[in-house]
């Protein structure tokens, strides 16, 4: 598992040598997954060379808006996060849990002997590292662990990328998750484009990372390189356009369970569940049992689910959360408040996806602000009446 950043291993790799990274990974039997353009979005899919990366393409994101545009800078990692997150590979949307065969005495569960696949995640953003750390806590450190997650996680190589440009909906600074990667990676890259130079600063975070770096022609990073890196990351920081005040946030939301504002949001929320699909920390699933046509083989699968559906909280008699208001409140309260009680951290990493992909353009940072302010207004009006 990747350890904290090792400051002594900082290298400079030229743009033209980046393909050696891919070669090294392929030689080590890694399936490389990274950002690539598909259907007018940047998603995470198989990539085999730097040519698969979205060179010179950046994203314009805002409430309910996502657009790719060409950028003059020709950066390979100029964009930020898209509709996919790494849960696609660590906690896939459909996962077979077991198969069972019908037998004379009932049924028997078949042992799974699939060999694990080694995957390299290329282009993991700092907010995504935080999301993966949250998943680690949920699926490996609780009283019940998920062996399938553990296996995928242990066979995943994490190559992070520091953000040098903020996305339109990002607020990682408020959530203390970026724009710089601090830990949780095997390697982290920072793309530097200065005048006529285009290179990457590689930093290692584990033995495996060091080993991979050794296969790529590189120079030791000099002070001017590191200065450029700091400058690029600072630029990203200064571009962040949204904030979420996390001060006493979980008490705030719990206190405001009956705040009439929830009803206002409900008027806009379509309960489509997009936010839960794109959120890198949402983990709710459902179990589906099915058989083949003859009934001789039964399969149990786990599929992504969303707390926004009516089925989600259904028990004989009806749904516990029947109104849209209660379901929106559940999602936001879980993400920002209950998660603290359950896992000791916030559930939000400030990636902004829920803001971008919400068809109604609901902004979680704005909703928090409104609820906070509604308390101030109350206090003000009480004072005015005195």
């Amino acid at each position: 598992m990747p350890a904290k950043k090792d400051k002594t291993n900082q290298a400079v790799i030229r743009l033209n040598d980046l393909s050696k990274l891919f070669d090294s990974l392929i030689q080590n039997d890694y399936e490389i997954l990274g950002p690539t353009v598909s259907d007018q979005a940047i998603i995470y899919d198989k990539v085999s060379s730097p040519y698969d990366l979205p060179k010179g393409i950046i994203d314009r994101q805002d409430n309910g808006q996502y657009r790719l545009v060409k950028d003059e800078s020709q950066a390979l990692f100029g964009f930020v996060v898209g509709p996919h997150s790494w849960k696609k590979y660590l906690y896939p949307s459909i996962q077979e849990i077991w198969r069972a065969k019908k037998t004379k005495t009932g049924f028997g569960i078949i042992e799974n002997s699939d060999k694990p696949i080694k995957r390299a995640f290329l282009g993991v953003r700092p907010c995504e590292l935080a999301a993966i750390a949250i998943y680690d806590k949920i699926f490996m450190e609780g009283p019940y662990a998920d062996p399938m997650y553990k296996q995928r996680r242990e066979n995943s190589l994490i190559i992070a990328v520091n953000c040098t440009r903020a996305g339109g909906t990002c607020f990682c600074v408020s959530m203390n998750t970026g724009p710089e990667a601090i830990s949780g990676f095997d390697l982290v890259l920072t793309e530097i484009i200065e005048k006529d130079e285009h290179y990457f600063i590689f930093e290692t975070g584990s033995e495996t990372g060091t080993q991979i770096l050794s296969k790529i022609p590189h120079k030791e990073a000099q002070e001017n390189n590191l200065k450029a890196k700091d400058k690029a990351i600072e630029r990203a920081k200064s571009q962040i356009g949204r904030t979420l005040d996390t001060n006493g946030l979980d008490e705030l939301l719990k206190r405001n369970f009956d705040n009439p504002h929830w009803q206002t949001v409900a008027g806009r929320c379509l309960t489509c569940g997009n936010c839960t699909m794109v959120c890198p920390t949402c983990f709710c699933t459902t179990i589906e049992d099915s058989t083949d046509l003859t009934g001789s083989l039964a399969i149990r699968s786990r599929k992504w689910d969303s707390c926004f559906t009516m089925d989600f909280s259904y028990i004989a008699g009806g749904s516990i959360r029947a109104t849209a208001m209660s379901r929106y409140r559940q999602w936001m309260s879980h993400k920002l408040a209950n998660w603290q009680d359950q896992f000791g951290t916030s559930g939000c990493v400030g990636c902004g996806r829920c803001i971008t992909w919400c068809p109604a353009g609901i902004d979680i940072t704005e909703e928090v602000r409104i609820i906070r302010e509604s308390e101030n207004i109350e206090n003000t009006s009480i004072k005015a009446r005195m």
């Binding site: 028990i315 004989a316 008699g317 009806g318």
Partner: protein, 155 residues
């Protein structure tokens, strides 16, 4: 009379009532016994009594032509039954039938109404107690109405 006074003093419904007031009640009280199947009162009859149940069980019921007798609620020892004597036009709304051998103390409603008119302290104390009982019954009835165990219910 002395025995009646002691029994009334110990009945849960009258807990906390001043001895002076209990003595007044005794003046309207009498011992009664009902055999299984016997009615304490019938729907439509003049409501001129209420009962402190000492032992046994009484079923409050009504008769629906297609269904037969339908039980509303049951009353046991330590409980009281009948309050139509408090509210004009003083007529019973339901039947009360002893399901087992039932011993009770019957209080004459006309007698009591007179005593309440004369002694407002007694009237007030007793009204407080009846109101509490009626509130309980109303709660219980409402829960019964909700049919919480019905096919649509969680359990």
């Amino acid at each position: 009379m002395e025995t009646l006074e002691r029994v009334l003093k110990e009945h849960p419904f009258l807990k906390g009532l001043e001895p002076r007031l209990i003595t007044i009640l005794v003046g309207c009280a009498s011992n009664v016994v009902f055999q299984p199947g016997e009615f304490l009162f019938r729907e439509g009859g003049e409501a001129n009594s209420f009962y402190f149940i000492r032992s046994g069980k009484v079923m409050i019921e009504t008769f629906i032509p297609e269904k037969g007798p339908v039980a509303i609620q049951s009353r046991e020892s330590g409980e009281v039954t009948g309050w139509s004597w408090l509210v004009p036009p003083y007529r019973w709304h339901f039947d009360a039938r002893a399901v087992e051998l039932t011993r009770a103390i019957a209080l004459d409603g006309k007698c009591l109404r007179g005593k309440f008119d004369n002694d407002h302290d007694l009237g007030y104390e007793m009204m407080k107690k009846f109101t509490a009982v009626i509130a309980d019954r109303l709660d219980a009835t409402r829960i019964q109405l909700m049919d919480i165990y019905g096919p649509q219910a969680k359990h």
